[in-house]
């Protein structure tokens, strides 16, 4: 990039608002696509500001039928069982036998292709997640916070927090929760109520990874804490913390 990020600063909000044109817009877009650790979070903040303008629109509620239409549309996209007339079963049986003979190889290959496609999607998602985590861990000014378990014999959880790039939380051997519960990470400010930094559920072997952008800044925080909350999380903690990590 020929231009320094400082020179792009005044364009963050206009870019997010969509008022830039031609080369101005293309230049910033290309720079963001490179994953600039300064401009990507800055444009995110600009987008959050611009998105606030939407809240100034007069309140309106869509008709209740729209919800049903949405869910029906989704349902219709799911694989369905065909309803065939009775006589068709004889034809279907003959076709099925033919397909069993001729199509076994094709089905097997399609199944393998579908599995590979799903695996590829999963790996791409994981790759993107790990890249984001790495960007936070390697960003200048990232500080680590060790969250100690309140109960003995529970594993320690670690967080890495960068004011600009965001927060990564990692845990191993974290106890699994019932399906209707979730862990929720909180930023406990020096003044005021805790602020949610996201929810997460440990995966296999209790591995947990949460990437978040807390609304609070590290300098304003007294501690990070994790509670066990109902699925979906809560605006404020409803249980006592299980892990707590003070910010020195």
């Amino acid at each position: 990039m020929a231009t320094g990020c400082e020179l792009l600063e005044e364009h963050y909000e206009p870019f997010a608002l969509g008022v830039l044109e031609g080369s101005e817009r293309a230049e910033i877009q290309a720079h963001l696509d490179e994953g600039c650790p300064v401009c990507v979070p800055a444009v995110r903040r600009a987008s959050e500001l611009v998105g606030r303008v939407a809240l100034a629109s007069p309140e309106a509620v869509p008709p209740a039928a729209l919800r049903r239409k949405l869910l029906a549309t989704i349902q219709a996209q799911q694989p369905k069982r065909l309803r065939l007339p009775v006589w068709s079963w004889a034809v279907a049986a003959a076709l099925a036998i033919a397909c069993l003979v001729l199509g076994a190889g094709i089905r097997e290959r399609n199944r393998e292709l579908a599995q590979l496609s799903r695996l590829n999607d999963e790996l791409q998602d994981r790759d993107a997640t790990y890249r984001r985590a790495l960007a936070i861990l390697s960003a200048p000014g990232t500080r680590s916070v060790a969250l100690a378990a309140v109960a003995p014999a529970s594993p320690q959880v670690n967080a890495y927090w960068n004011e600009i790039a965001g927060l990564v939380l990692t845990g191993r051997h974290m106890p699994a929760l019932p399906p209707n519960r979730t862990y929720q990470l909180w930023v406990v400010p020096k003044k005021g109520n805790p602020v949610s930094a996201g929810t997460f559920e440990p995966g296999a072997q209790g591995l947990a990874l949460l990437i978040s952008r807390p609304a609070a800044k590290p300098a304003e925080a007294a501690a990070l804490a994790i509670t066990d909350e109902p699925a979906g999380g809560r605006p404020q903690p409803t249980t006592k913390p299980i892990w707590v990590g003070p910010l020195g």
């Binding site: 995110r44 611009v50 629109s57 999607d121 000014g141 005021g192 929810t199 990437i211 609304a215 609070a216």
Partner: protein
């Protein structure tokens, strides 16, 4: 970025969302993760919490309930298809949704696909019990809307009009200058100063 001034890194503006709204917004990420895993209840939960926001934006841009309904439907179908690609480093869920709604509504406006006189295909289908956010969800959203309106009211009238035209009209700098009959530089300044003032008002009006 290499070579960037350290002071530049430190110059992070205050959050423009209230703590309650930010917490509410972060709970939406759980819905998006459920949707990414193919769970329809995740989509239903996200819709219940955010559809009034998405619909309001679409209606403000298109001024037609039937068009706004179609855009709202499009937005959630897009979310259903692409939830796995949602990147919280790029935007919060609420911002992602309103920007999707805005983009689709403006596209529709520009392509002349609006149907101003068409009656809503869904009119008359009464079911007030479903499709509405839970009271506490509505309260958080309403409080945030009130806070944003108060912040917008602190802007100079021409700053506010220019920003609203840009957002709800989907106009670029030069299109705004032409529509408002103002020099390009004036339009750019109004937007820049207006957004700066809006950020200050929202950062200072926490809670």
């Amino acid at each position: 970025m290499a070579g960037a001034d350290p002071a530049f890194h430190d110059r992070k503006p205050e959050s423009t969302a209230s703590a309650e709204f930010a917490a509410w917004d972060s709970t939406l990420e759980t819905c998006v993760r459920q949707i990414a895993n193919g769970a329809q209840q995740g989509l239903a939960a996200l819709y219940d919490r955010t559809s009034s926001l998405v619909y309001s934006v679409a209606l403000q841009i298109l001024r037609d309930p039937a068009d706004a309904e179609e855009v709202t439907l499009d937005v959630y179908l897009q979310v259903w298809r692409s939830a796995a690609k949602f990147d919280p480093a790029r935007a919060s869920v609420s911002t992602w949704l309103v920007m999707l709604a805005r983009s689709r509504a403006v596209d529709r406006l520009r392509s002349g696909m609006t149907r101003k006189s068409r009656e809503s295909a869904l009119e008359g289908v009464a079911d007030p019990a479903s499709g509405e956010a839970a009271p506490d969800q509505q309260t958080i959203l309403k409080l945030e809307q009130r806070r944003v309106r108060a912040a917008m009211a602190t802007l100079e009238p021409e700053q506010r009009r220019t920003i609203e035209l840009a957002f709800f009209g989907g106009l670029t700098h030069s299109e705004l200058a032409k529509k408002l009959g103002q020099p390009l530089g004036t339009v750019k300044t109004r937007i820049r100063l207006g957004l700066m003032k809006l950020r200050q008002a929202l950062s200072g009006a926490e809670g």
